[in-house]
């Protein structure tokens, strides 16, 4: 029952946050140059068709009415119809969501497993050659542009070595997931590695770890059991924040690897001024981000009993 109150508070905060995000995105779209109806007609547009299309898209109505209509539909679970694809936005998003979830989960696994592993290894012998090499690689991972890294990985592992596919979803085949997940995961692996190392080094200096060592507890037990659990708290925060990195990196990774995900779809929809799709996709991203952070908060409660007490 200790979890209920903090959980309820965070859930209640979700509504205003999501409302604010949709309002902001709608307002940005409204002030952005470009007319969705004109963008849908290609280079040569008949003025009469343009007028009819603006009417069909309800773009000739006041902005407040447009936004209120969108919110009204949203409350009934309807995200509207895509201007460009002429299909319900929920259907458009549902088509792409599985690919994005798959990629995000795989990239998170990559960053957690590789990042925590590298961080823990580096922390075992701080200042050693291995530590310097791992932390150097971590900085490289953080500072390498996603697009470039993706192209290089594809050139080496797909074009030159022919070990993995160049691009595509491959109907869900795992081999198609490897390079996109490594590319997107690399963005965050370095951060997780550096945080794990720093956090572990802070914890091992604490008295209870020194006591455990003095009592003759094996070093792997000291690090793996006693130190790691406490060191995880800041690492979990970084993983949570990393969701934002994943969302930022997803469109680029999806573009390089022709991955049929939400990120790429959102970028295309912005270019086409397909407002219903933009609003729907941003809402999904916002929900993922907010819920992700909520899960991080919950993870604190599980990992650290002191957080429960303070709540």
């Amino acid at each position: 029952m200790t979890f209920v109150r903090p959980l309820a508070q965070r859930f209640l905060a979700l509504g205003p946050v999501l409302f604010g995000i949709t309002l902001l995105v709608f307002a940005l779209n409204a002030v952005a140059l470009g007319d969705p109806a004109r963008a849908a007609l290609g280079q040569r547009a008949d003025p009469e068709v343009l007028r009819q299309l603006r009417h069909e898209y309800a773009l000739d109505r006041p902005l407040v009415v447009q936004y209120a209509t969108w919110i009204g539909r949203l409350l009934h679970g309807d995200l509207g119809r895509s201007y460009r694809q002429q299909r319900p936005v929920t259907e458009v998003i549902a088509d792409r969501l599985p690919a994005t979830v798959r990629l995000a989960v795989a990239a998170t696994l990559v960053s957690v497993v590789l990042g925590m592993g590298a961080g823990a290894l580096a922390a075992v012998r701080p200042g050693s050659g291995l530590d310097h090499a791992l932390m150097g690689a971590a900085v490289l991972g953080i500072s390498t542009p996603v697009f470039w890294l993706g192209m290089m990985l594809a050139l080496v592992f797909a074009v030159s070595l022919d070990w993995l596919p160049v691009s595509g979803y491959g109907g869900g085949d795992l081999a198609h997931l490897v390079l996109p997940a490594l590319t997107l995961g690399a963005l965050h692996t370095g951060t997780v590695a550096r945080m794990t190392r720093g956090s572990l080094l802070d914890v091992v200096r604490l008295d209870y770890i020194q006591t455990a060592r003095a009592k003759g507890v094996a070093e792997w037990v000291v690090l793996g059991k006693h130190a790691l659990r406490n060191a995880l708290i800041p690492v979990v925060t970084v993983i949570g924040i990393g969701l934002a990195d994943l969302l930022v990196g997803a469109p680029l990774t999806e573009t390089v690897f022709a991955w049929p995900g939400l990120g790429r779809m959102l970028v295309a929809a912005v270019g086409e001024r397909d407002l219903p799709v933009v609003m729907g996709a941003v809402l999904v991203f916002a929900v993922v981000y907010v819920v992700g952070n909520l899960l991080v908060d919950l993870a604190y409660l599980v990992i650290d009993p002191r957080t429960r007490a303070s709540e």
Binding site: R38, A39, A40, D46, V49, A158, V270
Partner: protein
């Protein structure tokens, strides 16, 4: 331009096989009435048929129409439909399907395809219940009457917007017809995983016989370098050549024999809004036109893989005239013109905003223009925008100096000159220069209504020269199609109307020699 690779002697078409291509974007729709982009059109052309079609020599051939006749006054077109043309749902196509499809598409996104037909404008604007100029005569004859003679009308009947659709399927599917299309084409939709791949399967009961290919797979691959890598690894049979790779693929022994480059009916240009100062002064426009050296862009940025500008009309366009003279590169004359307009050495001339849409090539061209105009004292401020924002500012007249390209919808000068420069098309309809010249309007009106032939083309030549002399449009280069095509791909037509083979070629003619 490089010559096409010589193909080995044909051994005769082999049936079967999967033809693999890629698009940069997912087609937004597969409904001929709703399409307005080349990607959608290229799939529509495989699923549907129109009354007529164009071959790669741009000659009109019968498709659903077996034969057709034009009246002496050039206003009445009578199309006789083939027997046994079946829709993919099993029903036979009849004359009423043609009338239904045209009226439906006339109220779609490309009404201009039908607006020459008598009564079409009233129908499009909702003031008539049908297009009076389309009349069915019995089960297999359609008679179309035009408002006035229009020589390129047969081309319009080959356009994908004029594809024939079955009424009952449209009624049954409603808006979802766009993703569940049913036509009479050689291929039908098999599977469509949005943003991933679209698969077409052969339609064995196609009226021309069983298509050779078993299947066509269009992968959706947004990055051009990824499409190139997929081609290199053998996963695509056709791919485009990435920007900046044209010379490299021609000199690389692994790809040189697969490079195909051919002229396209398109021109890339910069335009002025002649209503907007300082471009309302012809001397300023001419000064800028004389300061641009297209050879730098053609041979440098575009690696010699496009043609140098010869006017507004591309050289491959029927009616192209060698005597047309664009304003030549002459910086000294540019300076004189600037001085005569009151801006010696560019002094006193405000900084000019140049608008262009976001592509790497457009960015490089903008920087090149900036450097060239700096030589005559004109300072250019670069305004890079995405397509939607760019087209808005161009359409509404905000942009005074901007990039614009044009690829012909059909092979006739009318589709360039009348669309882009007639005063009735000011704004989004095509005349984004907002150019009004009664003499040019008169020449274009006369030419548009004349029967095909040299006299008609001569009117267009006169109009083109006036427009060039007025420096409303400065051509930078004429487009070419650049593709990598596997040597075993046979029968893939290379239409000058298309910027890529996948956009126009009828795939029913394609077979794989392996």
């Amino acid at each position: 331009m490089a010559a096409l690779p010589a193909a080995p002697a044909p051994v005769g078409p082999k049936p079967g096989g999967i033809f693999r291509l890629a698009f940069g974007t997912d087609p937004p729709t597969l409904d001929p009435a709703q399409a307005s982009d080349t990607t959608s059109s290229s799939v529509i052309r495989q699923i549907f048929d129109a009354l007529l079609e164009l071959d790669e020599r741009l000659e009109v051939r019968g498709a659903v129409a077996e034969r057709w006749a034009v009246s002496a006054d050039q206003r009445v077109y009578t199309f006789h439909l083939r027997r046994g043309v079946g829709f993919q749902n099993g029903r036979e196509l009849g004359a009423s399907d043609v009338k239904y499809s045209f009226e439906r598409a006339a109220r779609g996104k490309r009404p201009w395809v039908f607006e020459k037909i008598m009564g079409a404008r009233e129908f499009i604007r909702g003031r008539a219940s049908d297009i009076t100029g389309i009349r069915t005569v019995g089960e297999r004859t359609v008679e179309i009457t035009l408002e006035r003679p229009f020589a390129p009308f047969a081309y319009l009947m080959a356009y994908d917007a004029a594809s024939i659709v079955p009424r009952e399927e449209v009624a049954r599917r409603g808006a979802t017809f766009a993703s569940h299309p049913v036509g009479t084409g050689a291929f039908r939709l098999g599977e469509w995983r949005h943003d991933d791949q679209l698969v077409l399967e052969r339609f064995p009961r196609h009226f021309r016989g069983v298509p050779l290919l078993e299947r066509i797979v269009f992968r959706i691959i947004p990055a051009e370098i990824t499409r190139f890598n997929e081609f290199r690894t053998g996963n695509l049979d056709v791919a485009d050549i990435p920007t900046g790779y044209c010379r490299r693929v021609q000199s690389d022994p692994r790809t040189s024999e697969e490079v195909a480059i051919w002229p396209t009916l398109g021109t890339s240009a910069v335009r002025f809004n002649v209503e907007r100062p300082p471009f309302d002064d012809r001397r300023i426009r001419q000064a800028i036109a004389h300061a641009v050296d297209p050879r730098v862009a053609v041979n440098g940025l575009l690696e010699g893989c496009v043609s140098a500008p010869r006017g507004i009309l591309p050289p491959a366009m029927p009616g192209f005239n060698e005597r047309v003279r664009p304003l030549a590169f002459d910086p000294a004359l540019s300076r004189q013109l600037l001085a005569s307009a009151g801006y010696p050495g560019g002094r006193g001339l405000p900084r000019i905003a140049y608008y262009y849409n976001t592509t790497e090539l457009n960015q490089r061209i903008a920087e090149l223009l900036q450097a060239e105009l700096r030589e005559i004292g004109v300072r250019l401020e670069l305004r890079r925008l995405d397509w939607a924002a760019h087209i808005k500012l161009v359409d509404d007249g905000t942009a005074g100096f901007f990039r614009q390209g044009w690829i012909a919808d059909y092979p006739d000068p009318e589709n360039f000159l009348t669309v882009l420069f007639h005063s009735r098309n000011i704004g989004p309809a095509g005349n984004t220069s907002r150019y009004r010249n009664p003499a040019v309007d008169r020449l274009l009106d006369e030419a548009d209504a004349m029967p095909a032939g040299p006299a008609r083309f001569e009117r267009y030549r006169e109009a083109e020269q006036v427009i060039l002399d007025d420096a409303v449009w400065v051509s930078l280069y004429h487009y070419s199609s650049r593709a990598l095509i596997r040597r075993y791909v046979r029968g893939l037509e290379r239409s000058p109307l298309s910027s890529a083979p996948e956009f126009l070629a009828p795939f029913r003619k394609v077979w794989l020699d392996r």
